[in-house]
């Protein structure tokens, strides 16, 4: 059984996300299997595993290519992803 290679997924961090990761950008290493292709849901799960403090927030969204993404949306290595904590503009 060959190991599926990992994909490096970069996530931009803003607001409280930057405080929780102590970085403007983090990298998560994830596997995309033919029978279970990578989605936003996987990224969300991996983020909570690496940075459990995100579980203390009211909620957070993930943006893909500068638009809100849904959990089922596919993710490829070239996508620009960002963590979107609860917004508070205005």
């Amino acid at each position: 059984m060959t190991e599926t290679p990992t994909i490096a997924i970069q996530l931009l961090c803003f607001g409280i996300a930057r405080d929780l990761t102590a970085a403007p950008e983090i990298t998560l290493h994830l596997r995309s299997r033919p029978d279970d292709p990578l989605t936003i849901a996987h990224v969300r799960k991996a983020l909570l595993e690496s940075y459990p403090a995100f579980g203390d927030l009211v909620s957070f969204a993930i943006a893909r290519n500068e638009a809100y993404a849904r959990d089922a949306d596919p993710v490829v290595a070239t996508d620009v992803l960002a963590i979107i904590p609860p917004v508070s503009g205005g």
């Binding site: 931009l12 803003f14 607001g15 409280i16 930057r18 405080d19 203390d56 927030l57 009211v58 943006a63 500068e66 638009a67 809100y68 960002a82 979107i84 904590p85 609860p86 917004v87 508070s88 503009g89 205005g90």
Partner: protein, 138 residues
Amino acid sequence: MLDIDLSDSPLSVDHCYGKVQDPSCGGICLFVGTIRNHSKGEPVVRLEFDSYAPMALKEMRRIAGQAKEQFGLTSVVLHHRVGKLAIGDIAVIIAVSSAHRAAAFDGCEWIIDELKKDVPIWKKEFRPDGSYWVNARP
């Protein structure tokens, strides 16, 4: 006309008014959001706005365009400040013009409501006891 801006310089009410003013329009509604010296009963000393600028501009443009269409507005200006702000500073200005004033009021209020829901901008309040990202924690 749509005019969208994220700026780390002070916002101007007269400037936004001038942009939506139009000889065919009789009614202009503006909303100005300013920095309050208190929040949920706690004193606030100053404030910082972080933003995911390219996405914030896209969301602002989407909201302004949808409001223009939905309420039949002539022009929409939507300017948001980022960076460090003092009490009383202007955080956001929305200016809309319309042939009918009811549409101007409704469209302007809809834009600020949508902005507060969707635009990726984050407010950090500095209080005497520390600093807090607004809305982040339960």
